[in-house]
């Protein structure tokens, strides 16, 4: 009896989950504005991943909690600020958290900003609550 509840319950909810995820996947193009997902955005995502940005920052609230949320950093600070900021790292202020210098070239910085800008336009059900992320 207990065993059958386990097998029956698991199979049932796995199927429901697959159905829901399939439905969700159908909504993603519109909710993420996939039409605007350019090759530059794709390259920016690779920069994001290969510099392990998620090891300090959050993106849409997921990641490490050591440094600011970046899902809305472009609306918060502006694209030019983000690029200038990355070029100026590390600040070297004693005792303050330090961000490494990643030696990105102009093209890579642009790609990264494109990726973050695209990310900021994803429909996240109005999260975060305010611009501070």
């Amino acid at each position: 009896m207990a065993r059958n509840i386990f097998y029956g319950g698991t199979v049932f909810f796995v199927l429901v989950f697959i159905a829901l995820v399939t439905d969700s996947a159908g909504h993603i193009p519109k909710r993420s504005n996939a039409a605007a997902l350019t090759p530059a955005v794709e390259r920016g995502k690779t920069i994001w991943e290969t510099r392990n940005c998620i090891g300090c920052h959050t993106l849409l609230g997921e990641g490490a909690y050591f440094a600011p949320e970046l899902g809305n950093v472009v609306p918060r600070r502006g694209a030019e600020f983000v690029k200038a900021w990355m070029k100026a790292q590390p600040t070297g202020v004693p005792g303050r958290r330090q961000m490494p210098q990643f030696h990105l070239n102009e093209q890579q910085l642009d790609d990264l900003v494109q990726f973050l800008d695209w990310s900021s336009k994803i429909n996240t059900e109005k999260w975060p609550p305010n611009i501070e992320g």
């Binding site: 319950g9 698991t10 429901v16 996947a25 997902l37 609230g61 949320e69 330090q98 996240t124």
Partner: protein, 483 residues
Amino acid sequence: MQPATMKYKSQGVAKYYFVAALALFVGQIVFGISLGLQYVIGDFLFPYIPFNQARMVHTNLLIVWLLFGFMGSAYYLVPEESETELWSPKLALALFWIFLVAGALTIVGYLAVPYAKLAELTGNELLQTMGREFLEQPLPTKVGIVIVALGFLLNIAMTVLKGRKTSITLVLLMGLTGLALLFLFSFYNPKNLVQDKMAWWWVVHLWVEGVWELILASLLAFVLIKTTGVDREVIDKWMYLIIAMALITGILGTGHHYYFIGLPGYWQWIGSVFSALEPIPFFMMTVFAFNMVQRRRREHPNQAAVLWAVGTSVLGFLGAGLWGFIHTLSPVNYYTHGTQVTAAHGHLAFYGAYVLVVITMISYAMPIMRGREANPKRAQSVEMWSFWIMTLGMAVMVLALTGAGILQVWLQRLPTSGALGFMATQDQLAFFYWLRIAGGLGFLVGLITYLASFFVGETAAERAAVGAGAGPLASPASPVRGA
């Protein structure tokens, strides 16, 4: 202490896995403390070990040592349950060294070269899988993990097939198979961030709030059968009900990660309802452990193992159940998502459920692998102390992080105008972060105490008693503290 030997010689391979697991555990905690320090002394170890590198080491070591713990547990448990020798002890040993060397090289890679360089050196452009939280491993490591997992599953499955089939081995095997299959999604990294995040949780959430719970329940059931002598039928029934509830609530509970990452709004309802039920299996586990200990039909001389088992059930409930529940409803999570509240929950849940169940198995199996039914009383007493010190250290950490999280929400998230920025808020949390470091250091003391217990021998009086022919059953075993 009563001499005892393993029922099957091949169970001995578990010892390698357990020793490696504990060594990596120490590494995890040391890096954890350095991370804690960076929260308050921002440039600590910079530029030698930036925060992100230390964090990868901290989280990856956790995953790897728990996997060592699960595999060691399976190698010990399955021959005994199946009443047959392991299919291939040689394969088990070979995989052990492969996994250990691959794991060590990966950690060295994280620390020795910049991550972008590591990605380049390891062929990330062939199949881009790196740079996602917890799945940071270079491609060769990920492939290595799959190979080790396949070989391991083959070994375990062949052993089960040629021997007695019990519910415990079946559930364990399902859990381990699920673990290996779900890891395959780590190779799937869509270009669209929303798709990427949705699929990422099929590894991360469906591991820790899904198939790992099957492993947890089966290991706990095994140790409870052995230490309490309660009928297998009773324990099997509990185990099935617990894992049924775990998956019935946990699969759709994935929805609590889908609120704000670009997926449809209906997940707020599904995620809230089902994840609010996720504490139920953990509560059942607590009731189960206490019940079995109360109904015990023997006084097992290894009372330390019983304490770890009961501790797993209680702290698993508090960490995974209660601390999960406090921020799982979508209107609450709207404010707590990505704050220190999440960190508080993560730490207590991993400790309570998975760290403790692995130590439970080690505590039960290690004395037998060393030729005695249980450790000397004095060693067990040190072990019990280590449980309380680690747990207290963890409690301080978790309360500190919870405090930090609540203040963070108050300052940065709740205000509709004039909210404090991220770094300005972090400055206000320094007190809690210092407290967290104190908790972490306490935890390290507890861990060292635990390791020390392996080296504590019996007292002269105990030796004399054994010499005079008095077995451990002649004196009543000490009551289980905390039970």
